[in-house]
């Protein structure tokens, strides 16, 4: 009964939405509003104005830098939230050690075999993100996946012990902090907060630094999420 009601509501809403979206400019047509207004300006400005040949990176780190700053803050806030809310520190009574499962030799070998390649790929994605497809977040996610895999091999306890230490928090905070520093550098050198200063080599340096910071931040956040879920599971 409840489900039927929900179905009815959903169908009515979907009908309304279809009526709405069918009035949008059809997707894929090159003269839709999306392609004529702001995006066309970005493409016309080219590498010179955007600062990066990969225009997605240019939009992320230059034209719409505040959004990306916000995004970095969201992921940091989520990490802080997960650490603050999770059960892992709430040990009630003596903490019961889970029976540590020995790592399967197959998994161990394969991860050890693949780890260098994954690391290389992640670094490539981060460092070349302003030229080719890729970027800080994408590379950071690969890096984070690698770290999670390694925590499987090495045993999560070794990594989990480091969870709430201040040193780790400095590294976790790296993305918002580097962003804030860049913003201030932009104010000092180019006159506006979040502006990328002029000489091309400096701009590229800043872009790579930002991507690297974002990558590290994203990777550590992923590991933080994984470990707090994993730790809770065993308690």
């Amino acid at each position: 009964m409840r489900n039927a009601l929900a179905l009815l509501i959903v169908i009515v809403l979907a009908g309304l939405m279809m009526a709405g979206v069918s009035q949008l400019p059809p997707p894929g047509s090159p003269d839709g509003a999306v392609h004529r207004h702001v995006a066309a300006h970005y493409i016309d400005g080219g590498t010179e104005a955007g600062g990066a040949p990969n225009l997605v990176t240019a939009v992320l780190l230059n034209y719409r830098a505040l959004d990306t700053y916000g995004e970095v803050v969201v992921i940091f806030a989520a990490l802080v939230a997960v650490l603050a809310v999770g059960l892992s520190g709430h040990s009630r009574g003596p903490r019961r050690q889970p029976d540590e499962l020995p790592v399967s030799p197959v998994v161990d070998r394969i991860i050890r075999l693949l780890a260098p390649f994954i690391a290389l790929f992640a670094l490539f994605m981060i460092l070349e993100g302003h030229v080719l497809p890729g970027g800080g977040f994408q590379g950071g996610v690969v890096l984070g996946a690698l770290l999670i895999l390694l925590s499987l091999v090495l045993g999560p306890r070794r990594i989990r012990r480091m969870l709430p230490t201040p040193a780790l928090f400095w590294t976790r905070a790296i993305a918002p902090l580097v962003f804030a520093l860049t913003a201030i550098a932009g104010l000092a050198l180019a006159g506006w907060l979040f502006a990328l200063p002029e000489p091309a080599w400096l701009r590229e340096l800043i872009l790579v630094g930002l991507e690297l910071a974002i990558g590290i931040g994203a990777a550590l956040a992923l590991v933080g999420f994984y470990l707090s879920l994993e730790a809770d599971h065993h308690d």
């Binding site: 998994v107 693949l114 499987l152």
Partner: protein, 108 residues
């Protein structure tokens, strides 16, 4: 003529890969327990994806693309069985016992 043959062969490979994906997905939805579902789904990646990639490589021919596709096939061939193995092992250690027809007629 040989090109037609090649394309046909590639099409067959891709179709077979898709079939494996379909079977794996149906298996994931319909089979009774964790291990059976795992059995079905690991076929998606290990066989289905590899077949599709082989077909694509045949169509691409001798190209730099093909090198990438071969590398991808190697990666999948290594990682997908490992993942399946790790999952099954974790399931066993977490206390899942395989489903048998005699004990419980009702699937989980």
């Amino acid at each position: 003529m040989s090109e037609l043959l090649l394309t046909t062969f590639a099409a067959v490979l891709i179709a077979a890969g898709c079939l494996f994906f379909l079977a794996g997905t149906i298996g994931l939805l319909r089979l009774p327990d964790f291990y059976c579902r795992l059995h079905a789904t690991t076929k998606c990646d290990a066989v289905g994806a590899v077949l599709i990639l082989l077909g694509v490589a045949l169509i691409a021919g001798a190209d730099t693309q093909t090198v990438r596709i071969v590398a991808l096939i190697a990666l999948i061939a290594i990682s997908s069985p490992t993942a399946g193995h790790a999952l099954a092992r974790a399931g066993w250690h977490a206390g899942h016992r395989p489903w048998t027809r005699e004990e419980n007629d009702e699937p989980e």
